[in-house]
């Protein structure tokens, strides 16, 4: 009887372990398609103007160059990321570099507003209206 019960316990914990493993896989494998956006944007009362061409990369990916009003997609895997934005002048020289780490979750938006980020706005990750 006890042997049977021990077996049950082992089986149950094995199943539990597999379920947890599944959640972990979900966590590390979850992909997001992030829109990086270099357009003028209004968040709350503040308006952030897109002023310059920027070079952007997330987690050290191949840098993307976005001119004013440019927008592109970067695909990432996982929840925690570091974005690196470089503001460029007319001669493609870097004026300013901003690096910021951020965490996504199920409810956060997928639009990363670069002017807002450069302007120091806290909610620079925007949920798009469907």
């Amino acid at each position: 009887m006890t042997a049977m019960r021990r077996r049950r316990v082992v089986q149950a914990s094995l199943v539990l372990l597999l379920v947890l493993f599944g959640f972990w896989l979900y966590h590390i494998g979850k992909g997001f398609d992030l829109l990086v956006d270099n357009k003028t944007i209004t968040i709350g009362d503040a308006t952030y103007r897109a002023t310059a061409t920027v070079r952007v990369s997330i987690d050290g990916s191949e840098p993307l160059v976005l001119t004013k009003r440019g927008r592109d997609v970067i695909s990432v895997v996982g929840y925690d990321h570091v974005i690196r934005v470089e503001e460029l002048d007319m001669d493609d020289e870097v004026i300013r570099t901003v690096e910021k780490s951020f965490t996504l979750d199920r409810h956060s938006g997928d639009l990363l507003s670069l002017p807002a980020l450069l302007g120091g706005e806290e909610n620079w990750i925007v949920l798009r209206e469907p």
Partner: protein, 369 residues
Amino acid sequence: MKKTGLDGTFRLDRFLLTNLVPLLFIGLSAVAIPISQFSGAYLVQEMMIRLARNSFLVLSLLIPIIAGMGLNFGMVLGAMAGQIGLILITDWMILGLPGLTLAALIATPIAMVLGWMCGAILNRAKGREMVTSYILGFFINGLYQLVVLYGFGKVVPIKSADLVLSRGFGVRNAVNLLGIRNCLDNLIPLSIQGIRVPLGTFLVIGLFCLFIVWFRRTKLGQDMRAVGQDMDVARSAGIPVERTRIVSIVISTVLAAYGQIIFLQNIGTMNTYNSHEQAGMFAIAALLVGGASVARATLPNVFVGVILFHLMFVVSPMAGKYLIGEAQLGEYFRVFVSYGIIAVSLVLYEWRRARDRAYARRSLRGGEV
């Protein structure tokens, strides 16, 4: 019928009969390859890809054969379970190897339930397992369509607009698996003289071969062999026959689910309503081409079969085109070959069985010839 002893001619007969199918295929390929004008490097690369793509599915057929249940046409059940896993992870956007593993994890319980059901039904249809599992495949296909075409998006939430039909529920005909495409194949990049070797997949297949070798030696594996040889003897030896048979089908179904996932990660797109049907037929045909029979199949059968069968598959449309000027003819030819090969193997197997039975009956009656 003339009674033949164990003299030389009889054995040659026997050899030709058991290896008829692979020999036939080697002959056909020898003729068709030069006609098709494919280069050697191209064919080697193509075979490499197809070995990685199909071996696992074919391997999943081995265990029910040990248990004497014939070719498990019910493996399509596993394939369907695998596809449900893939649809879900595609909707959730889980990418890469974690996505693949999660799909397998989701498919496992579904495949276990389906496999258990299949095994239980086959226990009620002893002696006609193959035709029953074959029809069962169709039946479950109906349920699968019910779930995927009507349930997904209504009962099971599906968010991605790329997956759902425009009417708001039901999964589209083609599902793009870009997120997990080749993630296992390219896990360990390796190239030998310009030929890409999908080492990751081969490692998984190798592990699985070891599993089968090990499994045959376990108590359960031995029990299965006993059940496969004679159910009544096995039962009197205290082996739970019904349970053993169910377990063999459950294992096969779960493995078929993994096989289908590996297959589709290589292909990169999934035909929601067709991929699984083809999986069953091609896997079975490949195994038989490799020289396996309904009652006996080995690991070499699997790999020889996959290579020979798919060689024919790649080569025949082009051979048909150059030979008769009609690629369509080659297409039909390979369909004919896939079905024909299954038919021939089944006939040879049943023929041999009927002959043995007739022989046993005669000797029972007392040496009347």
